[in-house]
C-alpha cells in the first residue's frame, strides 16, 4: 500500500530535493564554466588542477626570469661587441703604424685615440642594467672595474668585482647566470711561457712566473753586478756572479714575480717581457698607449718591433672577446630555447588544468533540460496521485 499521504509527500519531496540539488550543481557549472569548483567535486581531479595551477605559476615565474636573463645577456653581448669594435679599431691603427711611417707626434695622436678607446671600454665594462653591473659576477652593486689615474690618464684598471658567478635557477634543476665575472671575460687565463723581447740576453727562468701581460724588465749594471727590476726601478735584485738560471724578480707594487735566467745577460737595457695567455684588455691598451707615447725613450727600431708584437696581444684579447661573445650568444640561445620549452610546458599545464576543470557546456545544457523535465514530472505525478480519492465518490 503506497498511497498514504506521508508516503506520497515523502516520495515527492525526496525526488524534488534530488532534482533541486542536481539543478543547483548544473547551474553552478553553467555559470562558472567549471566542472570542478571545489575539491569535493572531484578530489583526484582537484589534486591535478591544484598541481597544474602551481606548475603554471612556477613556470610563469621561470619564464619571466628567463626573459629578464636574456635581456641582460643581450645587453652584455652588445657591450662585448662594442669592446670588440674598439679593439678592432685599435688594431687597425696599430697595423697602419707598423706598416707606414709615422712620426712621434702622429703616434701621440694615435695614443690619444687609444686612450679614448680605453676610457670607452672601461665604461662598457661597467655597464649597468636595471641598477645591476653586468660584469661584476655576484657583486652587481659596485662598479667591477676601477681605473687608477695619473694626471687624469688611466694607468691601471683593477677588477673589484666578485670572482663568484651568481647562479639562479633558470628552470627546474637548471642553474644559469646572467651576470658574467668580468675577470673571466676581459682577461685570459691560459698562462704560457714568458717571451723576452730585447737585447739584454735575459731569458725565462725555470719557475712559473706570476706576472701578467707585458712587463718591462730593466737591466742595469752598477759597476760590479747586473741588477734587475720589473717595477721601473722601484726595486732591484742583484744578479750573482755567473747569473742564476731561476732568479726571482719581484714587482714591489704587486708582489708578483718574474723568474729570469740571468746567466746570459750581456748588456743593460729594457726588455719587454710578454706572458702569453695572461693579457687583459685594459693593461694591453695601457701598454700600447704608453709604447706609442714612448716615455721610456725606446729606439725607433725597438719601438716598431714592439708595436708589431703588440698586435699579438691584441689578437689574444680579441680572441678572448670572441670566445666571450660566443659564450654569451650560446647562453642566450640556450635560455631562449629553455624559455620556449617552458612556455610549451606552461601551455600544457594550462591545457591539462582546463581539461580536468572545465565543464562540457553542451552536456550541462542537456542535463539541465533533463532534470527540468524530471522535476516537472515529479510535481505532475504527485498532483495526479493526490487528486485521486475515494472521497470524491462518497455521497
Amino acid at each position: 500500500m503506497s498511497g498514504t499521504l506521508s508516503n506520497i509527500y515523502s516520495n515527492v519531496s525526496f525526488a524534488l530535493q534530488l532534482h533541486t540539488e542536481a539543478l543547483a550543481r548544473l547551474q553552478e557549472q553553467a555559470s562558472t564554466g567549471a566542472r570542478v569548483n571545489r575539491a569535493s567535486d572531484d578530489p583526484s581531479g582537484a589534486y591535478q588542477i591544484l598541481g597544474q595551477n602551481s606548475q603554471e605559476r612556477l613556470l610563469g615565474n621561470y619564464i619571466d626570469g628567463l626573459c629578464e636573463a636574456v635581456n641582460t645577456l643581450g645587453l652584455s653581448s652588445t657591450a662585448i661587441e662594442d669592446v670588440m669594435s674598439q679593439i678592432v679599431e685599435v688594431k687597425t691603427r696599430l697595423t697602419q703604424i707598423s706598416s707606414g711611417i709615422y712620426g712621434q707626434e702622429q703616434r701621440k695622436l694615435i695614443a690619444q685615440g687609444i686612450n679614448d678607446a680605453l676610457e670607452h671600454i672601461v665604461l662598457l665594462a661597467n655597464t649597468k642594467r636595471a641598477g645591476q653591473y653586468l660584469f661584476g659576477g655576484s657583486d652587481t652593486d659596485s662598479p667591477p672595474y676601477v681605473a687608477e689615474r695619473t694626471d687624469g690618464k688611466i694607468t691601471a684598471v683593477t677588477y673589484n668585482g666578485s670572482l663568484e658567478q651568481r647562479n639562479v635557477e633558470a628552470a627546474p634543476g637548471v642553474q644559469s647566470s646572467s651576470f658574467y665575472v668580468g675577470d673571466n671575460i676581459f682577461r685570459s687565463n691560459e698562462r704560457g711561457d714568458p717571451v723576452f723581447l730585447g737585447d739584454t740576453g735575459a731569458k725565462a727562468g725555470t719557475g712559473t712566473s706570476s706576472v701578467r701581460g707585458d712587463v718591462w724588465l730593466t737591466v742595469i749594471h752598477d759597476g760590479s753586478n747586473y741588477k734587475l727590476s720589473i717595477d721601473d726601478g722601484a726595486s732591484y735584485v742583484i744578479v750573482p756572479a755567473g747569473g742564476d738560471v731561476n732568479q726571482a724578480v719581484t714587482d714591489s707594487r704587486t708582489k708578483r714575480i718574474l723568474y729570469v735566467d740571468s746567466t746570459e745577460i750581456t748588456s743593460t737595457g729594457v726588455d719587454l717581457v710578454r706572458i702569453p695567455g695572461t693579457y687583459d684588455i685594459f693593461h694591453t691598451l695601457v701598454t700600447i698607449r704608453d709604447m706609442l707615447e714612448n716615455d721610456r725613450g725606446l729606439s725607433e727600431a725597438q719601438l716598431q718591433g714592439l708595436l708589431i708584437n703588440s698586435l699579438n696581444s691584441l689578437d689574444e684579447v680579441g680572441g678572448l672577446l670572441v670566445r666571450a661573445q660566443v659564450s654569451v650568444g650560446s647562453r642566450i640561445g640556450f635560455l631562449d630555447d629553455l624559455k620556449d620549452s617552458l612556455q610549451k610546458l606552461q601551455y600544457d599545464a594550462q591545457d591539462e588544468a582546463a581539461r580536468v576543470q572545465e565543464a562540457d557546456i553542451a552536456q550541462v545544457a542537456i542535463d539541465l533540460s533533463r532534470r527540468e523535465v524530471l522535476y516537472q514530472m515529479s510535481l505532475s505525478v504527485a498532483a495526479k496521485i493526490m487528486s485521486m480519492s475515494l472521497l470524491d465518490f462518497i455521497a
Binding site: M1, S2, G3, T4, L5, S6, N7, S10, N11, F14, A34, V36, N37, R38, A39, S40, D41, P43, S44, A46, Y47, L50, G51, N53, S54, R57, L58, N61, Y62, D64, G65, E68, G131, Q132, S138, D139, T140, D141, S162, E164, R166, N167, V168, E169, R191, G207, T208, S209, S210, A248, T250, K255, R256, I257, Y259, M388, S389, L390, L391, I394
Partner: protein, 657 residues
C-alpha cells in the same frame, strides 16, 4: 434480550471503528503517527439447547500498526544521517574557507608566490624592490595561514558550543520521553491504551536519534528505556541529564552531569558528528595546517639565522620572549651543539670566529648570554632578560653567524723563512662542518719544483680529498680549487718539508638550533598557522632578508637554499614538499567531504526506502480509511436496522398480548 445486546455491541463497535478511522484521518499528516486499527472479536457465545448463539461483537483493543524491527532500523539510519549531515555541513564550511580553485586563489597560490618571490630575489639579492616583494609575499602567505588557523580555531569553538547546545536538546528530549513514559505507564496499568502517547514518545525518540545514536528497551505497560553512549539515560519515568566537556587529552566527550567521566567515543546523530569533527577530522586538518606552517617557519628560519642580507652584519639582535629560560623546556626542542659567531672589527676589518657550546639539558638563555659575553675577543655583549636573548656589538664592531670561510687559515705550521701568504675564499657547499688540513709535500718556493699540497678532511685524520700542484706550473696568487666551493691562493714564498695549515669550513653555524628557537635573526615568528608572522625587524627593514652566505655578502647562496625548500621533502610533512602537503590537505578535505556526501546520499535513499515501507505499514491511506469508513457506516446502518427490526418484533409481540 440478547438481540438488543448484539445490536448495541454492533452499534458501539461501528461507532468506535468510525472514531478510530476519524482519528487516523485527522492524523494523516502528523509526524510519527502510526495508523491504528480497531480489534474486534465475536462476543462470547451462549448455548440454548443444541444451539450455540453468538453474543455480538467485542472491542478487544485499538492497536498501532508498526514493525518494531523496521522502526529500530529507521532510528539507526536517522542517527547515521544526523552524524553525516553534520559532518558534511561543517566540512563544507572548511572547504569553502580554504578557497582553493576559486578565482581569488587560496593558500597554495600564496605559498607559490612566496617561493616565486624568493626566486626573483635570487636574481637581484641586494635590490630593495625584490626584498620588499619577498616580505610582502611572506606577509600574504602568513596572513592566509593566520586566517585559516583562526577560522579553524573559531570553527572548533563553534563546534564545541554546538555540541553543548545539542546536549541541551538531548536533555530536553530525555525529560519529555521520561514524562510520557510515566503517563503511558499510569494509563496502561489501569487497563487503558495510550497509543497516541506512545506515538508522541516514539516521535521524541526519533528526534533524539537524529541528535545521538540511541538504543531502546521495551518494558512493561508501554514503557521504553533509552540508552545513549552506553548510559541508561531514561529508565521508566526518570531521566538522567548529560553534559559535554573536555577530556584530559583535549578531546570532547559526553558524561552524566557532574560525573566528569567523559566518553569521546560517541557515534551517530548530530552529537556524534560534532564530536567526530572536533576530535578527529577538524583536529587533523588543524594539526596538518599547523604542521605545514611550523615546518616552513622552522626550515626558513634555520637557513635564515646563519646568513645576512644586503644590510650586512649586525650591531644588535634581539630574540622573542620565550616561555621558559631553560633550553630543556623549549618546544620544538634544541639539541647539544655549537653556535659560531663572527665578530668583525669594522675599523681594521679583522674577523674572528668564536664558538659557543650549547648543552641542551643544562644551559639557559642566561648561560648562553654569559658565554657570548665571555668571548675573549672584545666587541660583543649579550643579555637574557625576561626570557629574551639580546646580542649587541660595541661601537666599531659587528657580528653575524655567516658560515663563510675566514680568509686566512685557522692554524698553521710554516717553518720556512719567508712563507707565502695563504688566502682562502669561496662558499662551502659541503653538508657537514669540517676542518681541512693542507700538508705540503716537498719543500721549496711556490711555483717551483714539484711542490704539492695534500688536502685531508677531518682535521687531517680523514681522507685525502685533493692534491694541488703549487710547484712548477702554478703561478703565485692564482686560485686553486679545493672542491666543495673552497679555493685557496698562495703568494710567492717558501715552504719547509711537512709544513701544514688548517682551514675550518662550515655548513651549519648553529648545530644546536638555539638561534632559530629564540628568534635571533629569524625570518618568521610564531609556531603554527594561527600565529605565523614575518618578524618585525624584517618588515621594518627588508634589506635584512638574508640572501648571502659568502664573506663579501654579495652572493645569493642563501636565497637559493630558501628557494630550494619548495622542492625539498620534509619529514614533518609526511616526506612531502610543502606545496604537495598542502595540496594533499585540501584534497583530503575534499575527499572526506565527497565520501560523506556519498554516504549521506546512500543513507537518505535507505531512509527513503525504509520510511516508504514504514508508510505502507503505519501510514494513513485516506482511500483505505474511506473504504473502512464505508464498511463501518454500513455496519452501523445495518445494526440500527437490526435493532429496529428487533424492536418492531418485540412491539408486534407486545401488541399481541
Amino acid at each position: 434480550m440478547d438481540s438488543y445486546s448484539i445490536g448495541i455491541s454492533g452499534l458501539t463497535a461501528a461507532q468506535k471503528a468510525l472514531d478510530v478511522i476519524g482519528n487516523n484521518v485527522a492524523n494523516a499528516a502528523t509526524d510519527g503517527y502510526h495508523r491504528q486499527r480497531i480489534e474486534l472479536t465475536p462476543e462470547r457465545t451462549s448455548q440454548v439447547g443444541d444451539l450455540i448463539l453468538g453474543g455480538g461483537v467485542d472491542i478487544t483493543g485499538i492497536t498501532r500498526m508498526l514493525d518494531g524491527l523496521l522502526e529500530r532500523e529507521i532510528l539507526r539510519q536517522r542517527s547515521s544521517l544526523g552524524q553525516v549531515s553534520q559532518e558534511l555541513a561543517t566540512l563544507g564550511i572548511v572547504e569553502n574557507a580554504f578557497g582553493e580553485l576559486s578565482a581569488a586563489g587560496g593558500l597554495s597560490s600564496a605559498i607559490d608566490e612566496f617561493f616565486n618571490a624568493l626566486q626573483d630575489l635570487s636574481a637581484h639579492p641586494s635590490e630593495l624592490v625584490w626584498q620588499t616583494q619577498v616580505v610582502t609575499a611572506a606577509q600574504t602567505m602568513a596572513g592566509r595561514f593566520r586566517t585559516l588557523g583562526e577560522f579553524l580555531a573559531g570553527l572548533e569553538t563553534q563546534v564545541t558550543i554546538e555540541a553543548q547546545n545539542t546536549i541541551e536538546q538531548v536533555n530536553t528530549l530525555l525529560t519529555q520521553i521520561a514524562d510520557i513514559n510515566q503517563k503511558i505507564q499510569r494509563l496502561e496499568i489501569s487497563g487503558g491504551q495510550a497509543n497516541n502517547l506512545r506515538d508522541q514518545r516514539d516521535q521524541y525518540i526519533t528526534e533524539l536519534s537524529e541528535l545521538v545514536s540511541v538504543e531502546t528497551i521495551d518494558r512493561k505497560f508501554g514503557v521504553v528505556d533509552v540508552c545513549v553512549v552506553g548510559i541508561g539515560v531514561v529508565t521508566g519515568g526518570s531521566a538522567t541529564e548529560l553534559e559535554v566537556g573536555l577530556k584530559e587529552d583535549g578531546s570532547l566527550g559526553v558524561s552524566i552531569v557532574d560525573a566528569y567521566n567523559y566518553n569521546s567515543d560517541v557515534q551517530g546523530g548530530r552529537l556524534g558528528g560534532l564530536l567526530s569533527l572536533k576530535n578527529d577530522t577538524m583536529a587533523e586538518v588543524h594539526d596538518d595546517l599547523d604542521s605545514l606552517a611550523n615546518a616552513l617557519i622552522q626550515q626558513i628560519n634555520e637557513y635564515h639565522v646563519q646568513a645576512v642580507g644586503s644590510e650586512g652584519s649586525f650591531t644588535e639582535l634581539t630574540g622573542w620572549v620565550m616561555p621558559s629560560e631553560n633550553l630543556a623546556d623549549f618546544d620544538p626542542p634544541v639539541t647539544d651543539g655549537k653556535i659560531y659567531i663572527r665578530v668583525i672589527d669594522t675599523g681594521t676589518g679583522t674577523i674572528t670566529r668564536n664558538e659557543i657550546s650549547v648543552d641542551a639539558s643544562t644551559d639557559s638563555l642566561t648561560t648562553i648570554a654569559a658565554a657570548i659575553s665571555a668571548i675573549p675577543i672584545p666587541g660583543l655583549n649579550a643579555s637574557a632578560s625576561l626570557s629574551k636573548l639580546s646580542i649587541t656589538a660595541d661601537t666599531g664592531y659587528e657580528f653575524d653567524f655567516l658560515p663563510a670561510v675566514l680568509s686566512s687559515p685557522t692554524a698553521s705550521t710554516l717553518t720556512a723563512g719567508t712563507p707565502p701568504t695563504i688566502s682562502v675564499s669561496g662558499i662551502y657547499t659541503g653538508t657537514v662542518n669540517d676542518t681541512l688540513r693542507f700538508t705540503v709535500s716537498g719543500a721549496g718556493s711556490v711555483g717551483n719544483g714539484s711542490l704539492e699540497l695534500e688536502v685531508t678532511d677531518g682535521g687531517g685524520a680523514g681522507e685525502v680529498i685533493a692534491t694541488l700542484n703549487i710547484g712548477q706550473g702554478y703561478a703565485a696568487s692564482d686560485l686553486l680549487d679545493v672542491g666543495n666551493g673552497i679555493r685557496i691562493s698562495l703568494t710567492a714564498g717558501d715552504f719547509g718539508a711537512g709544513d701544514n695549515f688548517d682551514v675550518d669550513v662550515f655548513a651549519d653555524t648553529d648545530t644546536s638550533g638555539v638561534l632559530a628557537a629564540v628568534g635571533i635573526n629569524t625570518f618568521f615568528a610564531g609556531s603554527g598557522a594561527k600565529n605565523i608572522a614575518v618578524c618585525s625587524d624584517i618588515v621594518d627593514s627588508p634589506a635584512r632578508v638574508a640572501t648571502a652566505l659568502g664573506a663579501d655578502m654579495t652572493d645569493n647562496a642563501n636565497v637559493l637554499r630558501l628557494v630550494g625548500l619548495k622542492d625539498q621533502t620534509m619529514s614533518d610533512l609526511d616526506a612531502l614538499t610543502p606545496v604537495e602537503f598542502y595540496r594533499q590537505l585540501v584534497t583530503g578535505v575534499g575527499q572526506e567531504l565527497s565520501v560523506r556526501q556519498m554516504r549521506q546520499d546512500n543513507v537518505e535513499v535507505i531512509i527513503q526506502n525504509l520510511t516508504g515501507r514504514q508508510s505502507e505499514i503505519s501510514g494513513v491511506d485516506i482511500n483505505e480509511e474511506a473504504t473502512q469508513m464505508l464498511v463501518f457506516e454500513q455496519m452501523f446502518q445495518a445494526m440500527a436496522k437490526y435493532l429496529n427490526v428487533i424492536h418492531s418484533s418485540i412491539l408486534t409481540i407486545m401488541e399481541m398480548i
